[in-house]
C-alpha cells in the first residue's frame, strides 16, 4: 500500500475506534458513575456516596447530550481525556504501559525470529525431509495450543517444577523470559511455516535453478538469490503479525502480571473506563498502521519492482 492509502487507513481506524468507544459509552448498562466508583474504591468501600461524588466530579450527567462529532473532534485533536479510574491523563498512563508492552513484544519477536525463520529455512531447503516433517508436526501442535495454556505449561514445568525462572512479575531481566517465550513460541511456529513455504517455493523457481546452473554453490545461491525472496513475505507477515502479538500480549500480560497495555486494556474494559479503552485501542490500531507503513517501506527496499 502507498502512503495516501495508509493515511486513509489511519483515519478509518481512528473513526472506527472512536465510533465504537462512543457506542460503548452510550450503551453502558446502568450508570457509568457506579462502575467508575467501583473501579476506584473497591467493593468494600463502594456506596451511593462514592458514586455520587464521582458523578459530581466527572460531570457524568452532562454526557447524555454528548455529540458524536464533538467526541471525534476530541480524538482528532489528540485529546484523549483522563482515565475515569485513576484520574490520570490517558496519555500518561498509556505511555507508561506501552513501554512495558513494547519491550515484551520486542523480546518475543526477537526470540521468535531467532527460532522460527532459521528452522523454517532449513526445512524449506529440504522440503519433505525429516526436519520439515518434524517441524510441521511441532508447528501444528503449537498452533493448536491456546496461548494461555502454553503459558501455564511453561510456568508449571520451568518455573514450578524446575524452579528455574520466576512465574510472574516484572522488573528484572529474568521476568522477561517466560512471557516472551510463550509469545515467541506461537509466533515462531507461524513464521517457521511461512519461511519454510517461501523457501520451498524459492527453491522451485527457475531463477534459483539457473543460479545453480551458473555454477554458484548452494550456499551462494541461498544468500544471493534465496534469502531476499524469503524475507519479503516474512517481513509482510511480521507487519500483519503485530496484531496477533498484541492480542497475545493481552492474555499473556494478565497471566504473568505484566504491567503493559494489554493488562490495562482488559482492566479498562472491566471497569468500563472508556477513555482508557479508546486510548489503548487507538494506540494499538495506529501502531499497527505505522508498523505496516514501515513494512511497506522495507518491502520496497527488498523488492524495488514496485507494486506487485
Amino acid at each position: 500500500m502507498n502512503l495516501p492509502s495508509r493515511l486513509l487507513q489511519l483515519l478509518m481506524v481512528v473513526l472506527m475506534v472512536g465510533g465504537a468507544s462512543y457506542l460503548m459509552m452510550q450503551s453502558l448498562p446502568g450508570d457509568a458513575a457506579w462502575r467508575i466508583a467501583a473501579g476506584r474504591y473497591g467493593y468494600d468501600a463502594l456506596d451511593a456516596a462514592a458514586a455520587a461524588s464521582v458523578r459530581a466530579e466527572l460531570g457524568l450527567e452532562a454526557q447524555g447530550g454528548l455529540h458524536f462529532l464533538y467526541w471525534l473532534g476530541d480524538i482528532l485533536r489528540l485529546e484523549l481525556g483522563t482515565s475515569l479510574i485513576s484520574g490520570e491523563s490517558v496519555w500518561v498512563e498509556i505511555r507508561h504501559q506501552l513501554g512495558n508492552s513494547l519491550s515484551l513484544a520486542g523480546a518475543a519477536l526477537g526470540i521468535s525470529l531467532l527460532i522460527g525463520p532459521p528452522l523454517g529455512l532449513l526445512a524449506g531447503l529440504r522440503a519433505g525431509g525429516w526436519l520439515d516433517r518434524s517441524l510441521l508436526a511441532v508447528c501444528s501442535l503449537l498452533r493448536a495450543t491456546p496461548q494461555f495454556l502454553l503459558a501455564l505449561v511453561l510456568i508449571l514445568l520451568i518455573s514450578v517444577e524446575m524452579g528455574l525462572l520466576p512465574a510472574a512479575g516484572h522488573g528484572e531481566p529474568q521476568h522477561f523470559i517466560l512471557p516472551a517465550m510463550t509469545l515467541a513460541l506461537g509466533l515462531a511456529a507461524v513464521s517457521a511455516r511461512l519461511a519454510r513455504d517461501a523457501m520451498a517455493a524459492v527453491t522451485q523457481t527457475a531463477f534459483h535453478d539457473f543460479a545453480r546452473w551458473k555454477g554458484l554453490s548452494n550456499a551462494q545461491t541461498f544468500w544471493r538469490h534465496g534469502l531476499r525472496h524469503v524475507a519479503l513475505p516474512l517481513v509482510t507477515y511480521l507487519g500483519l503479525q503485530f496484531v496477533t502479538l498484541v492480542e497475545g500480549v493481552v492474555v499473556i500480560e494478565s497471566i504473568f502480571g505484566w504491567p503493559g497495555i494489554g493488562h490495562a486494556l482488559v482492566h479498562a474494559i472491566f471497569s468500563r473506563d472508556v477513555p482508557m479503552v479508546q486510548g489503548t485501542a487507538l494506540v494499538l490500531g495506529v501502531g499497527f498502521v505505522l508498523i505496516n507503513l514501515l513494512v511497506d517501506l522495507l518491502g520496497r527496499q527488498l523488492d524495488p519492482r514496485g507494486v506487485k
Partner: protein, 540 residues
Amino acid sequence: MVKLLSRLRWQYRTFLHDRRQLAVASVALSLAVVQPSHAQDASAAQASAADTRRLEIVGPFDIKGADPLLSGILFQRMQIVETLVEVDATGELQPGLASDWEVSDDGLEWRFTLRSGVQFHDGSQLDAEVARQVLEIARAKPGLLKSVPVERIVAEDAQTLVIALSEPFAALPAYLADYRQQILAPAAFDETGTAQQVIGTGPYRMLRMTPPLSLEVTAFEDYWGPQPEVRQARYQAVSRAEGRALIAESGDADFTYGLDPASRQRLSQSPRVTLAAAATPRTMLLKVNANHPAFQDPAVRRALSLAIDRTAIAQVVLRYPRGASQLFPPMVEGWHDPALPELHQDVAKARALLDAAGWKVAEDGIRHKDGQRLAISLITFSDRPELPLVATVLERQFHAIGIQTRLDITNFSAIPAGHHDGSLDMALFARNLAMVPDPIGNVLSDYAGTPEASGGDWGAMGWFDADFTAELERMAREGYGPTPARQDPRAQASGVIQRALPVIPIAWYYQNLAISNRLQSAQVDPWERSFGLSELRWAQ
C-alpha cells in the same frame, strides 16, 4: 514429568481424605504463628549493615493512586501510613499516633493526645494542626467519617486534638482507625484535597510506586518506634488467583495473599511455603430484595436459607471447615451469639414454607403464585473467584425448591446500583463486617436507614425494623452497655437479623496466605489492616 504426574495422581486420590483435615489444620496454624524473636538485639545491628534482602509480597489489590481513598488500605498494610488509633489481633483498640484519648461525660467532646516526636517521611513533624487538616480532608470525601456527627475538629495545642460532636458517638475512636483516616503530611495533598504522594509516618517509606502493579518500600530511619528487621519490601499486584499461587509455589514471593481454595490445597504440599490462615470479619452473604413480591414474606426468605447446603459449599467450594451459622463469625466477639439457633439446610421444610406461602410448583418445576413465576436474577462478580462458584451452587439449590435463578456475573457496582434503582433481586458478595474495627459502623450503614431508604448498599434492601434501628443508634451513641433484658445488645441485634434474614449468610471467610521459608515467622492480621512487615524476621 513422570514424577509430576505420579504426584498429581497421588494427590488426586488423597484429596478427599485430606480436605477436612487441611482446613482445620491451617486454621490451627494461624493461631500459633507468632513466635518470640530471639534476634531482637541483633536486628538493629543487622539493620545498619546494608541488608539488601527484599521481602516480596504478592496480593490481589491493584495500586490505583496515592490518595487514601484509592489505595489507602494498601499503604496501611505496607505500614507506610498510620492512623491515630490502632487495633490489636483481638479487635481491641490500641494507641496509634494518638497515645491516649478520653471523652467528656456528655459524650460530645473527644480529646486525643498525640504522640510526640513523630516525623513524617518528608521530615516534617506531626502535630495536632496537621492531624486536624488531614481529618478535615478525609471528612469531605465519601467514607464512614461522613456519617459521624462531627461538629468541629480543633487543634487545642500542639499535641491535643479535640473532636466535638453534635450528639454522642461511642465508636468514634474505632472510626479513626479506618484506613481512610490515615494521617499523611499536608504536603502530600494538592489543592483539591487529593493526595498526590504518600508521605506517612510508618516504619516504611515509599521508595517508588508504579501503578497499577507494584510498589516498593524501604525502612524509615527516623521512625518513632523500633526499627524493623526487614529493610526492603516490594508489593506486587497479581490479579489472578492462579498466578499468585504459582508465584508462591515457585518461591518468588515471601508473602502471598488471597489464595484460592484449590491453590491452597496444592501449596500445602509445597516444601517452599507454609500456609497460614486466620478468621477474618468477612462473611459471604446473599442480599435479598425484600421489596420483591416473593421475598416480602419472611417465610420465603427463610425457605431460601433452608435450601442452602452451607456445609457442602464451605467444604467443597471454599474448603473451610464449615459454613456460616449466623451473620457474624465467632471472632467478632459480642456480635457473634453462640446461643443463636444455627442456620441449616432443610429442603423439605423449605418446600413446605413455600407451599404455605402460596407458591405452588407448576409443570415446569418452577413455583408460581397469582400467575407470577418465581424466577429471579442473582448478581455477583468475579473479582473474588469463589463468588461465581457459590452462585452456581446456589442456582442449583434454589432450583431444587422450585426457584429459577438467572446468574448475572458482572461488575460489582451493579449491586449498589441495583439497590438504589430497585432492580436487584438477589446479590451474592463478601462483606467486610468490620471496616472499622467496631462493626457498629457497618451494621448501621448496612441494616439501619430510614423507612423510606431502608438498609444499605451492601446490606438489607427493602427491610426496615424501627426498634432495631433505634437500638443500633443507641449503641452507636452510648456503646454496648447492658439493656433491660441484661443481654449484650450486640447479640440481640444479631438475633433480629438472624430471624428476619434481610440477608442470608452463607460462609465466614478466612484470610489465607502462603509464607516462604525465607521467613522465620509471620503474623496474620485478622482485621486485614497490616501485612505485619515490621514484625517479620528472616529465617537466618
